[in-house]
Protein backbone atom coordinates (compact mmCIF):
# COMPACT_ATOMS: atom_id res chain seq x y z
CA UNK A 1 0.00 0.00 0.00
CA UNK A 2 2.90 2.38 0.76
CA UNK A 3 4.34 1.39 -2.63
CA UNK A 4 1.16 2.45 -4.31
CA UNK A 5 1.17 5.73 -2.42
CA UNK A 6 4.82 6.47 -3.09
CA UNK A 7 5.09 5.34 -6.70
CA UNK A 8 1.72 6.08 -8.22
CA UNK A 9 -0.50 8.26 -6.11
CA UNK A 10 2.01 10.93 -5.13
CA UNK A 11 3.60 11.46 -8.58
CA UNK A 12 0.13 11.53 -10.14
CA UNK A 13 -1.19 14.06 -7.66
CA UNK A 14 1.88 16.30 -7.94
CA UNK A 15 1.70 16.29 -11.72
CA UNK A 16 -2.02 17.02 -11.48
CA UNK A 17 -1.40 19.88 -9.06
CA UNK A 18 1.26 21.46 -11.27
CA UNK A 19 -0.88 21.10 -14.38
CA UNK A 20 -3.91 22.54 -12.56
CA UNK A 21 -1.97 25.55 -11.26
CA UNK A 22 -0.49 26.10 -14.74
CA UNK A 23 -3.94 25.90 -16.32
CA UNK A 24 -5.39 28.43 -13.88
CA UNK A 25 -2.47 30.82 -14.45
CA UNK A 26 -2.79 30.51 -18.23
CA UNK A 27 -6.54 31.08 -18.05
CA UNK A 28 -6.17 34.18 -15.89
CA UNK A 29 -3.41 35.66 -18.08
CA UNK A 30 -5.40 34.90 -21.23
CA UNK A 31 -8.48 36.69 -19.85
CA UNK A 32 -6.44 39.66 -18.65
CA UNK A 33 -4.53 40.08 -21.94
CA UNK A 34 -7.43 39.33 -24.31
CA UNK A 35 -8.68 42.91 -24.35
CA UNK A 36 -5.30 44.66 -24.76
CA UNK A 37 -4.23 42.17 -27.47
CA UNK A 38 -7.42 42.74 -29.47
CA UNK A 39 -7.09 46.52 -29.07
CA UNK A 40 -3.46 46.38 -30.15
CA UNK A 41 -4.33 44.30 -33.22
CA UNK A 42 -7.14 46.68 -34.18
CA UNK A 43 -4.77 49.62 -33.79
CA UNK A 44 -2.08 47.86 -35.89
CA UNK A 45 -4.63 47.05 -38.61
CA UNK A 46 -5.89 50.66 -38.70
CA UNK A 47 -2.32 51.97 -38.92
CA UNK A 48 -1.49 49.50 -41.69
CA UNK A 49 -4.59 50.54 -43.68
CA UNK A 50 -3.74 54.22 -43.33
CA UNK A 51 -0.24 53.45 -44.58
CA UNK A 52 -1.49 51.46 -47.59
CA UNK A 53 -4.04 54.07 -48.71
CA UNK A 54 -2.64 57.35 -47.35
CA UNK A 55 -5.21 59.51 -49.16
CA UNK A 56 -8.21 57.64 -47.73
CA UNK A 57 -10.08 59.42 -44.91
CA UNK A 58 -12.66 56.82 -43.94
CA UNK A 59 -12.55 53.06 -43.94
CA UNK A 60 -15.68 51.00 -44.15
CA UNK A 61 -15.60 47.24 -43.67
CA UNK A 62 -17.91 45.62 -46.22
CA UNK A 63 -20.58 43.11 -45.31
CA UNK A 64 -20.34 40.75 -48.26
CA UNK A 65 -19.85 37.03 -48.94
CA UNK A 66 -16.15 36.21 -48.69
CA UNK A 67 -14.32 33.37 -50.42
CA UNK A 68 -11.33 31.17 -49.66
CA UNK A 69 -8.59 32.69 -47.53
CA UNK A 70 -10.14 36.16 -47.59
CA UNK A 71 -11.34 37.24 -44.15
CA UNK A 72 -12.29 40.91 -44.56
CA UNK A 73 -12.83 43.52 -47.26
CA UNK A 74 -12.59 47.22 -46.43
CA UNK A 75 -13.23 50.12 -48.78
CA UNK A 76 -11.28 53.31 -48.21
CA UNK A 77 -13.01 56.60 -49.16
CA UNK A 78 -11.69 60.08 -49.69
CA UNK A 79 -13.42 63.32 -50.61
CA UNK A 80 -13.83 62.36 -54.27
CA UNK A 81 -15.03 58.78 -53.80
CA UNK A 82 -13.33 55.44 -53.46
CA UNK A 83 -9.60 55.62 -52.73
CA UNK A 84 -9.11 51.88 -52.93
CA UNK A 85 -10.11 48.51 -51.57
CA UNK A 86 -8.17 46.64 -48.91
CA UNK A 87 -8.55 42.87 -48.90
CA UNK A 88 -7.42 40.92 -45.85
CA UNK A 89 -6.21 37.50 -46.91
CA UNK A 90 -4.32 34.75 -45.10
CA UNK A 91 -2.58 32.28 -47.44
CA UNK A 92 -0.75 29.24 -46.03
CA UNK A 93 2.95 30.05 -45.66
CA UNK A 94 5.95 27.95 -44.74
CA UNK A 95 5.04 27.49 -41.08
CA UNK A 96 1.58 28.99 -40.63
CA UNK A 97 -0.91 31.33 -42.25
CA UNK A 98 0.49 34.67 -43.36
CA UNK A 99 -2.03 37.39 -42.54
CA UNK A 100 -1.72 40.26 -44.95
CA UNK A 101 -3.54 43.28 -46.32
CA UNK A 102 -3.62 43.88 -50.06
CA UNK A 103 -4.59 47.37 -51.17
CA UNK A 104 -6.03 47.54 -54.70
CA UNK A 105 -6.78 50.67 -56.69
CA UNK A 106 -8.26 50.49 -60.20
CA UNK A 107 -7.43 46.80 -60.50
CA UNK A 108 -3.73 47.23 -59.68
CA UNK A 109 -1.92 46.53 -56.40
CA UNK A 110 -1.37 49.78 -54.49
CA UNK A 111 0.61 48.08 -51.76
CA UNK A 112 0.75 45.04 -49.52
CA UNK A 113 1.39 44.77 -45.82
CA UNK A 114 2.01 41.60 -43.86
CA UNK A 115 0.43 42.06 -40.44
CA UNK A 116 1.10 38.67 -38.85
CA UNK A 117 3.50 35.91 -39.84
CA UNK A 118 5.61 33.19 -38.26
CA UNK A 119 7.98 32.51 -41.14
CA UNK A 120 11.64 31.63 -40.50
CA UNK A 121 13.48 34.65 -39.08
CA UNK A 122 16.16 35.81 -41.49
CA UNK A 123 14.66 34.00 -44.48
CA UNK A 124 10.89 33.94 -45.03
CA UNK A 125 10.32 36.63 -42.41
CA UNK A 126 12.04 39.07 -44.80
CA UNK A 127 8.78 39.03 -46.76
CA UNK A 128 7.39 41.49 -44.19
CA UNK A 129 10.07 44.02 -45.19
CA UNK A 130 9.35 47.12 -47.27
CA UNK A 131 11.63 46.04 -50.10
CA UNK A 132 9.67 42.86 -50.83
CA UNK A 133 6.30 44.61 -50.55
CA UNK A 134 7.46 47.17 -53.12
CA UNK A 135 7.85 44.37 -55.70
CA UNK A 136 4.04 44.12 -55.89
CA UNK A 137 3.16 47.77 -56.39
CA UNK A 138 1.47 48.41 -59.73
CA UNK A 139 1.07 44.73 -60.62
CA UNK A 140 -2.26 43.48 -61.96
CA UNK A 141 -3.84 40.31 -63.31
CA UNK A 142 -2.46 36.87 -62.41
CA UNK A 143 1.01 37.07 -60.83
CA UNK A 144 3.71 34.40 -61.02
CA UNK A 145 6.90 33.68 -59.05
CA UNK A 146 10.29 33.76 -60.74
CA UNK A 147 13.67 32.93 -59.21
CA UNK A 148 15.70 35.17 -61.51
CA UNK A 149 15.27 38.91 -61.98
CA UNK A 150 11.66 39.59 -62.88
CA UNK A 151 11.42 40.59 -66.51
CA UNK A 152 7.79 40.10 -67.43
CA UNK A 153 5.17 42.55 -66.21
CA UNK A 154 3.38 40.09 -63.92
CA UNK A 155 6.41 38.35 -62.38
CA UNK A 156 7.51 38.65 -58.76
CA UNK A 157 11.10 37.79 -57.90
CA UNK A 158 11.31 35.24 -55.07
CA UNK A 159 13.13 36.00 -51.82
CA UNK A 160 16.38 34.03 -51.72
CA UNK A 161 15.79 30.67 -50.01
CA UNK A 162 12.21 31.57 -49.16
CA UNK A 163 10.41 30.42 -52.29
CA UNK A 164 7.55 28.85 -50.36
CA UNK A 165 6.90 32.08 -48.46
CA UNK A 166 7.08 34.10 -51.69
CA UNK A 167 4.68 31.73 -53.39
CA UNK A 168 2.25 32.04 -50.47
CA UNK A 169 2.31 35.84 -50.59
CA UNK A 170 1.84 35.81 -54.37
CA UNK A 171 -1.07 33.38 -53.98
CA UNK A 172 -2.63 35.73 -51.46
CA UNK A 173 -2.24 38.73 -53.76
CA UNK A 174 -3.66 36.74 -56.68
CA UNK A 175 -6.66 35.73 -54.60
CA UNK A 176 -7.23 39.35 -53.56
CA UNK A 177 -6.94 40.57 -57.16
CA UNK A 178 -9.33 37.90 -58.43
CA UNK A 179 -11.81 38.78 -55.69
CA UNK A 180 -11.54 42.47 -56.54
CA UNK A 181 -12.02 41.84 -60.25
CA UNK A 182 -15.17 39.77 -59.74
CA UNK A 183 -16.76 42.03 -57.09
CA UNK A 184 -15.82 45.65 -57.80
Amino acid sequence: MTDFKQNILRPGLVLFAIAAVAAVCLGVVYEVTKGPIAAEQARATAAAMAELLPQAKDFDEQDMPLTGAISAVTVGYYSEGVAGVIVKVAPKGFSDKIEMLVAIRDGAVAGIKIVKQTETPGLGANAAGKEFGARFVGKRGQLAVTKSDSTAENEIQAITSATITTRAVVDGVNEALAFYNSNF
Binding site: R10, P121, S161
Partner: protein, 199 residues
Protein backbone atom coordinates in the same frame (compact mmCIF):
# COMPACT_ATOMS: atom_id res chain seq x y z
CA UNK B 1 28.45 28.38 -4.61
CA UNK B 2 30.60 30.61 -6.78
CA UNK B 3 28.57 32.83 -9.14
CA UNK B 4 31.60 33.79 -11.21
CA UNK B 5 32.52 30.17 -11.78
CA UNK B 6 28.96 29.19 -12.74
CA UNK B 7 28.68 32.02 -15.24
CA UNK B 8 32.10 31.28 -16.74
CA UNK B 9 31.02 27.65 -17.02
CA UNK B 10 28.07 28.68 -19.21
CA UNK B 11 30.06 31.18 -21.24
CA UNK B 12 33.11 29.03 -21.96
CA UNK B 13 33.67 25.62 -20.38
CA UNK B 14 30.22 24.26 -21.18
CA UNK B 15 29.08 26.76 -23.79
CA UNK B 16 25.70 25.41 -24.95
CA UNK B 17 26.43 25.94 -28.62
CA UNK B 18 30.14 25.32 -29.07
CA UNK B 19 30.75 22.69 -26.38
CA UNK B 20 27.44 20.99 -25.54
CA UNK B 21 26.05 21.44 -29.06
CA UNK B 22 22.44 21.63 -27.85
CA UNK B 23 19.67 23.83 -29.21
CA UNK B 24 21.09 23.87 -32.72
CA UNK B 25 17.78 24.54 -34.46
CA UNK B 26 17.61 28.26 -33.55
CA UNK B 27 21.37 28.56 -34.06
CA UNK B 28 20.94 27.52 -37.67
CA UNK B 29 17.67 29.37 -38.26
CA UNK B 30 18.13 32.83 -36.78
CA UNK B 31 21.83 33.58 -37.18
CA UNK B 32 21.45 35.14 -40.61
CA UNK B 33 21.98 38.56 -39.05
CA UNK B 34 23.53 39.97 -35.88
CA UNK B 35 20.24 41.68 -34.95
CA UNK B 36 18.30 38.41 -35.06
CA UNK B 37 21.05 36.67 -33.08
CA UNK B 38 20.88 39.22 -30.25
CA UNK B 39 17.08 39.10 -30.17
CA UNK B 40 16.97 35.32 -29.95
CA UNK B 41 19.84 35.20 -27.45
CA UNK B 42 18.30 37.71 -25.05
CA UNK B 43 14.81 36.16 -25.23
CA UNK B 44 16.26 32.73 -24.54
CA UNK B 45 18.30 34.06 -21.62
CA UNK B 46 15.22 35.60 -20.03
CA UNK B 47 13.24 32.37 -20.36
CA UNK B 48 16.19 30.27 -19.18
CA UNK B 49 16.72 32.30 -16.01
CA UNK B 50 13.03 32.15 -15.11
CA UNK B 51 12.55 28.48 -15.92
CA UNK B 52 15.67 27.58 -13.88
CA UNK B 53 14.22 29.64 -11.04
CA UNK B 54 10.87 27.85 -11.08
CA UNK B 55 12.34 24.37 -11.52
CA UNK B 56 14.79 24.91 -8.70
CA UNK B 57 11.98 26.24 -6.51
CA UNK B 58 9.94 23.10 -7.13
CA UNK B 59 12.84 20.63 -7.11
CA UNK B 60 12.01 19.04 -3.75
CA UNK B 61 8.33 18.91 -4.51
CA UNK B 62 8.49 17.12 -7.88
CA UNK B 63 8.91 13.32 -7.67
CA UNK B 64 11.67 12.11 -9.98
CA UNK B 65 9.34 9.71 -11.83
CA UNK B 66 7.25 12.51 -13.32
CA UNK B 67 9.87 15.24 -13.43
CA UNK B 68 10.09 15.60 -17.22
CA UNK B 69 6.33 16.16 -17.75
CA UNK B 70 6.36 18.57 -14.81
CA UNK B 71 9.25 20.56 -16.28
CA UNK B 72 7.56 20.73 -19.65
CA UNK B 73 4.28 21.95 -18.15
CA UNK B 74 6.10 24.61 -16.09
CA UNK B 75 8.29 25.82 -18.97
CA UNK B 76 5.59 25.80 -21.65
CA UNK B 77 3.08 27.63 -19.43
CA UNK B 78 5.66 30.16 -18.41
CA UNK B 79 6.68 30.90 -22.01
CA UNK B 80 3.03 31.20 -23.10
CA UNK B 81 2.33 33.64 -20.26
CA UNK B 82 5.34 35.74 -21.28
CA UNK B 83 4.16 35.73 -24.90
CA UNK B 84 0.61 36.83 -23.99
CA UNK B 85 1.88 39.57 -21.67
CA UNK B 86 4.30 40.87 -24.31
CA UNK B 87 1.57 40.87 -26.96
CA UNK B 88 -0.89 42.67 -24.73
CA UNK B 89 1.21 45.19 -22.85
CA UNK B 90 4.54 45.63 -24.65
CA UNK B 91 3.62 45.59 -28.36
CA UNK B 92 6.87 47.35 -29.33
CA UNK B 93 9.04 44.69 -27.72
CA UNK B 94 6.75 41.99 -29.05
CA UNK B 95 7.21 43.27 -32.60
CA UNK B 96 10.96 42.76 -32.40
CA UNK B 97 11.22 39.66 -30.19
CA UNK B 98 7.82 38.02 -30.58
CA UNK B 99 8.82 35.89 -33.52
CA UNK B 100 11.53 34.17 -31.46
CA UNK B 101 9.31 33.10 -28.59
CA UNK B 102 7.70 30.08 -30.31
CA UNK B 103 11.24 28.93 -31.16
CA UNK B 104 12.27 29.11 -27.50
CA UNK B 105 9.57 26.66 -26.40
CA UNK B 106 11.19 23.94 -28.49
CA UNK B 107 14.74 24.91 -27.55
CA UNK B 108 16.27 21.96 -25.72
CA UNK B 109 18.72 24.16 -23.80
CA UNK B 110 15.86 25.12 -21.49
CA UNK B 111 14.95 21.52 -20.65
CA UNK B 112 18.60 20.45 -20.56
CA UNK B 113 19.45 23.04 -17.90
CA UNK B 114 16.32 22.23 -15.92
CA UNK B 115 17.29 18.56 -15.82
CA UNK B 116 21.07 18.89 -15.50
CA UNK B 117 21.34 21.86 -13.17
CA UNK B 118 18.23 23.47 -11.71
CA UNK B 119 16.79 20.18 -10.46
CA UNK B 120 19.87 19.58 -8.29
CA UNK B 121 21.00 23.04 -7.21
CA UNK B 122 19.89 25.92 -5.02
CA UNK B 123 17.74 28.77 -6.24
CA UNK B 124 20.54 31.32 -6.52
CA UNK B 125 22.94 28.92 -8.23
CA UNK B 126 20.23 27.99 -10.76
CA UNK B 127 19.56 31.61 -11.60
CA UNK B 128 23.28 32.20 -12.16
CA UNK B 129 23.43 29.08 -14.31
CA UNK B 130 20.60 30.52 -16.41
CA UNK B 131 22.46 33.82 -16.79
CA UNK B 132 25.70 32.06 -17.70
CA UNK B 133 24.18 29.62 -20.16
CA UNK B 134 22.07 32.39 -21.68
CA UNK B 135 25.11 34.63 -22.06
CA UNK B 136 27.07 31.77 -23.63
CA UNK B 137 24.22 31.08 -26.04
CA UNK B 138 23.84 34.77 -26.90
CA UNK B 139 27.59 35.17 -27.47
CA UNK B 140 27.69 32.12 -29.72
CA UNK B 141 24.68 33.31 -31.73
CA UNK B 142 26.17 36.78 -32.05
CA UNK B 143 29.50 35.46 -33.34
CA UNK B 144 27.88 33.12 -35.87
CA UNK B 145 25.37 35.79 -36.88
CA UNK B 146 28.04 38.45 -37.34
CA UNK B 147 30.18 36.21 -39.53
CA UNK B 148 27.22 35.15 -41.67
CA UNK B 149 25.77 38.63 -42.04
CA UNK B 150 29.17 40.11 -42.93
CA UNK B 151 30.09 37.48 -45.51
CA UNK B 152 26.59 36.92 -46.85
CA UNK B 153 25.28 40.46 -46.92
CA UNK B 154 28.29 42.72 -46.38
CA UNK B 155 26.71 44.35 -43.34
CA UNK B 156 26.67 44.21 -39.54
CA UNK B 157 23.54 44.94 -37.46
CA UNK B 158 22.00 46.07 -40.74
CA UNK B 159 24.71 48.69 -41.32
CA UNK B 160 26.40 48.40 -44.68
CA UNK B 161 30.14 47.72 -44.31
CA UNK B 162 31.19 46.41 -47.70
CA UNK B 163 30.33 48.44 -50.76
CA UNK B 164 27.61 46.81 -52.86
CA UNK B 165 30.19 46.18 -55.62
CA UNK B 166 31.75 43.42 -53.46
CA UNK B 167 30.34 40.01 -54.38
CA UNK B 168 27.98 38.51 -51.79
CA UNK B 169 28.40 34.95 -50.57
CA UNK B 170 24.71 34.12 -50.49
CA UNK B 171 25.48 30.60 -49.31
CA UNK B 172 26.49 32.07 -45.94
CA UNK B 173 22.88 33.19 -45.40
CA UNK B 174 21.54 29.73 -46.27
CA UNK B 175 21.61 26.78 -43.83
CA UNK B 176 24.92 25.40 -45.23
CA UNK B 177 26.54 28.72 -44.30
CA UNK B 178 25.55 28.14 -40.67
CA UNK B 179 27.17 24.69 -40.67
CA UNK B 180 30.36 25.97 -42.30
CA UNK B 181 30.65 28.88 -39.85
CA UNK B 182 29.94 26.64 -36.85
CA UNK B 183 32.48 24.05 -37.93
CA UNK B 184 35.22 26.65 -38.39
CA UNK B 185 34.46 28.32 -35.03
CA UNK B 186 34.36 25.00 -33.16
CA UNK B 187 37.64 23.91 -34.72
CA UNK B 188 39.22 27.22 -33.71
CA UNK B 189 37.87 26.96 -30.17
CA UNK B 190 39.07 23.38 -29.75
CA UNK B 191 42.49 24.34 -31.06
CA UNK B 192 42.75 27.21 -28.57
CA UNK B 193 41.59 25.04 -25.68
CA UNK B 194 43.95 22.22 -26.59
CA UNK B 195 46.86 24.63 -26.77
CA UNK B 196 46.09 25.89 -23.27
CA UNK B 197 46.98 22.42 -22.04
CA UNK B 198 43.58 21.78 -20.43
CA UNK B 199 43.27 18.39 -22.10
Amino acid sequence: MNPGKIIKNGLLDENPTFVQVVGMCPVLAVTTSATNAIGMGLSTTAVLVCSNFFISLLRNFIPSKVRIPCYIVVIASFVTIVQLLLEGFLPQLNASLGIFIPLIVVNCIILARAEAFAAKNTLAASVFDGVGMGAGFTAALLIVGSVREFLGNGSWFGLRILDSSFPRMTIMLLPPGAFITLACLMALLNYLRGRGGSQ
